[in-house]
């Protein structure tokens, strides 16, 4: 599996979901590939006789439609369950961060009197997060559409001007993670990176205390 189980609770859930989809894919895809090759080899033209000219077979068609509907229903149920968890959005979490995307970097404001971190393409900002607790985010854009994408969290959310969207992340594993902009936003789209530093709750609290009172970090 690409990337391992993921660094957040949400990512672990998405990772398991992808595994279920992969199983379904291997079953459906494998059966179909097999049938295509089997027919190509077994029914290759051998002589000039005209093969039996049947036009259909209702039982086969019905069974296949039924199977397809069943598979799709099961996948939808699993998907919907994971979505309900990943889309949870708790504005009264202890740590709340406002993300603003702009051409061509990010601003992270720790709400409730915390620091404001602003980056540039040459000096990408670092988003410091605690592990083991829910962090709530509000995201918007100052100009064009961007997307806040952390590949190892298996997650992205668009930053849209004039619209604010909320989401939660629960980081599980401490570490430094790569972040990029996931929606083309102009010339320096490829350089609109950031990093995420996930630390233990004590380290995070210490960092927060050092950064107060709120001051913008100059680029």
């Amino acid at each position: 599996m690409p990337g391992g189980a993921g660094a957040t609770l949400q990512a672990e859930s998405i990772h398991r979901l992808l595994f279920i989809f992969l199983l379904a894919t291997i079953f459906v895809g494998g059966t179909t590939y097999f049938l295509i090759f089997w027919n190509l080899i077994k029914y290759r033209r051998k002589d000039d006789r005209v093969p039996p000219q049947f036009r259909g077979q209702h039982l086969i068609e019905s069974v296949c439609i039924g199977t397809a509907v069943a598979i799709v229903l099961v996948l939808f149920v699993f998907s919907n369950d994971v979505e309900k968890f990943v889309d949870l959005d708790r504005p009264n979490a202890l740590v709340r961060i406002r993300i603003t995307g702009f051409q061509w970097s990010w601003r992270f404001e720790y709400l409730g009197g915390g620091p404001v971190i602003t980056g540039t393409p040459a000096s990408p900002p670092t988003l410091v997060l605690p592990i083991g607790e829910t962090v709530h985010f509000e995201i918007t854009s100052a100009d064009v559409v961007h997307s806040f994408f952390i590949p190892e969290f298996y997650f992205k959310r668009m930053a849209i001007p004039g619209y604010t969207s909320g989401f939660d992340l629960n980081v599980v594993h401490p570490g430094v993670y790569r972040g990029v902009c996931g929606e083309f936003c102009g010339l320096d789209h490829a350089y609109m990176n950031f990093s995420v530093s996930a630390q233990s709750q004590t380290a995070f609290a210490a960092w927060l205390a050092r950064e107060r009172p709120a001051r913008a970090r100059a680029p």
């Binding site: 690409p2 949400q10 998405i14 979901l17 992808l18 989809f21 894919t25 459906v28 895809g29 179909t32 590939y33 295509i36 027919n39 029914y43 290759r44 033209r45 051998k46 005209v50 093969p51 039996p52 000219q53 049947f54 036009r55 259909g56 086969i60 068609e61 439609i65 397809a68 509907v69 799709v72 229903l73 996948l75 939808f76 998907s79 919907n80 994971v82 979505e83 990943v86 100009d143 064009v144 559409v145 994408f149 190892e152 997650f155 992205k156 959310r157 668009m158 849209i160 001007p161 004039g162 619209y163 790569r178 996931g182 929606e183 083309f184 936003c185 102009g186 010339l187 789209h189 490829a190």
Partner: protein
């Protein structure tokens, strides 16, 4: 229909028709030929842009092409392939073949048909003319989200893009009307709707989709021009407009558009598989009904392109997207059932059709994955998505387009394409295509975002990108072999005759190429395979 009938038909003119004749012709066969040649031209241009993109991405940390030109290249590559190649090629084939398959003398509105072509050609040239302007061509991506494309993009390239596309949209809408009218009004005696070839059914449904989906894009582009040129703020949030509205309007068009780009090719592949398995289509009625289901459902899934906005009702669109997987997947039952217990002939057209089956399946299953919003949060706007849509549109529609050329080239020109060069053509493109796009699934899930002029030197990223670029080069050679085959076959002509494939449908009942008004006489029509019934009376259905 047989040699003696062919000898009494008028001989086509032996010298090529003059420029004035091509400029003023309203005959569907000439217009269809113009479409096919023009789309092949745009395909070549767009393919070269893709080669530049792959050259830029071969090595990490190396934005060799430059940020501005790179953005123009991926914008025009996507725009051209979608608006100027895949859809118009299908409409061009339909232009040529549909009137023949229904037994009509021409399209219902010949002058409107000619107008469609010239609007398409000029519209495409207007889009591309942005390359000649001082600030360059459109560079906001093929879907051009506002406000990047409105307040965030100076220069006339973006305006030319919108204006040119408005013309192309008008062109396709007119063709859609023409195709529906021709099929409704000008079918041959006995050609009931339920005896229409599958390709014709797929073109009718495609035309309905065009009628439903293209006007919203026209409105969106008009809105973009209002914002850019006339001081409007429809999509500008800083003055009360809405960026999310742009996405809703665009994708309401954008999703049916992908089915416009795929349904004609389902029809083409279905016919070819049937002819080269020497059996009728398996499950004709189910096939038509599932095509109609796809069309309807495709109008209700648009915001699965907006799952990551947080601004739409994800479960509704997810449910509809999973639903549409059923009628699409069921077609494999039809295709495999057609091959089952048949007598399969591995002609080049059949090879490309089987390639379609294999590639489109992979694109289809990745599509079902991203119908799930949580998986889409991971995969959207990464190379996983790029892999998905290239597998369905490239591995799918492009392969079927090549199959269509190998299948109908004899009917259009009177000569066959060489089978040996055809096989080489197929294998180069099949291997090259898969080498190019298979690695992208991994790159995407590892986090390589799309539209990035360069990427960091993370483990295996460079290697996979290199494989992808080499694959693109192999495909390029495959396209050269294709062009070579065209040239060789036209230069050293091997006459094809009326019906080289023992085909089923009415186009094989007339000469190659057909006379001006298509048919001197018609066989009786009692099923969806009138020509097969005529030549194999012992096997016809009662």
């Amino acid at each position: 229909m047989n040699a003696t009938t062919a000898a009494t038909l008028p001989v086509p003119p032996s010298k090529p028709l003059g420029l004035l004749d091509w400029l003023t012709s309203t005959n569907h066969k000439q217009i269809g030929t113009l479409y096919i040649v023009t789309t092949l031209g745009f395909f070549g241009l767009s393919g070269l842009m893709a080669m530049l993109i792959r050259a830029d991405l071969t090595v990490p940390n190396n934005p060799w092409l430059g940020r501005q030109l790179y953005a123009e290249m991926f914008t025009l590559h996507g725009t051209a392939m979608i608006f100027l190649v895949i859809a118009p090629f299908a409409l061009g084939i339909a232009n040529y073949i549909l009137p023949l398959q229904v037994g009509a003398p021409d399209m219902a509105y010949p002058r409107l048909n000619a107008l469609s072509y010239w609007l398409f050609l000029l519209g495409g040239l207007v889009v591309m003319s942005g390359l000649l302007t001082r600030d360059g061509a459109a560079a906001a991506g093929w879907y051009a989200y506002a406000p990047l494309s409105t307040t965030g993009a100076a220069g006339t390239g973006q305006d030319l893009w919108a204006v040119g596309l408005l013309m192309v949209l008008a062109s396709s809408t007119m063709t859609a009307i023409n195709l529906i009218a021709t099929t409704v009004l000008y079918r041959a005696p006995g050609m009931l709707m339920w005896r229409l070839p599958i390709f014709v059914w797929d073109m009718i449904v495609t035309s309905m989709l065009i009628l439903m989906a293209f006007p919203p894009l026209a409105a969106t582009l008009a809105g973009m021009l209002i914002d850019r040129l006339l001081g409007g703020h429809l999509f500008d949030p800083s003055h009360g407009g809405s960026a999310v509205l742009y996405q809703h309007m665009f994708w309401f068009f954008g999703h049916p558009e992908v089915y416009v780009m795929v349904l004609p090719y389902f029809g083409i592949v279905t016919e070819i598989i049937a002819v080269f398995s020497r059996k009728p289509v398996f499950g004709y009625t189910g096939f038509v009904l599932s095509t109609l289901a796809i069309a309807g459902l495709s109008m209700s899934v648009w915001a699965h392109h907006m799952f990551t906005t947080g601004a739409v009702l994800n479960p509704f669109f997810s449910a509809m997207s999973f639903a549409i997987a059923v009628p699409t997947g069921i077609k494999y039952v039809n295709w495999i059932g057609t091959m089952w217990r048949g007598a399969i002939i591995p002609s080049t057209a059949m090879l490309f059709s089987v390639g379609f089956l294999l590639n489109f399946l992979l694109g289809g299953v990745t599509g079902v994955m991203i119908a799930s919003p949580p998986i889409d949060y991971w995969a959207n706007a990464t190379y996983f998505l790029v892999a998905h849509f290239h597998y369905v549109l490239g591995g799918g529609s492009m392969f079927a387009a090549l199959a269509a050329v190998y299948y109908w080239f004899p009917k259009i020109t009177g000569v066959t394409l060489r089978e040996t060069w055809g096989r080489l053509n197929f294998w180069l493109i099949f291997i090259g295509f898969n080498a190019t796009f298979w690695p992208m699934h991994w790159l995407g899930l590892w986090g390589m975002q799309r539209r990035t002029v360069t990427y960091p030197d993370l483990p295996h990223w460079g290697t996979l990108n290199l494989i992808s670029s080499v694959g693109a080069a192999v495909m390029f050679v495959g396209v050269l072999v294709f062009l070579w085959n065209l040239w060789v076959s036209l230069r050293w002509r091997v006459p094809a005759g009326d019906n080289p494939w023992d085909g089923f449908t009415l186009e094989w009942a007339t000469t190659s190429p057909p006379p001006e008004f298509n048919f001197e006489r018609l066989p009786p029509i009692r099923s969806e395979r009138p020509v097969w019934d005529f030549h194999h009376p012992a096997t016809s259905a009662p």
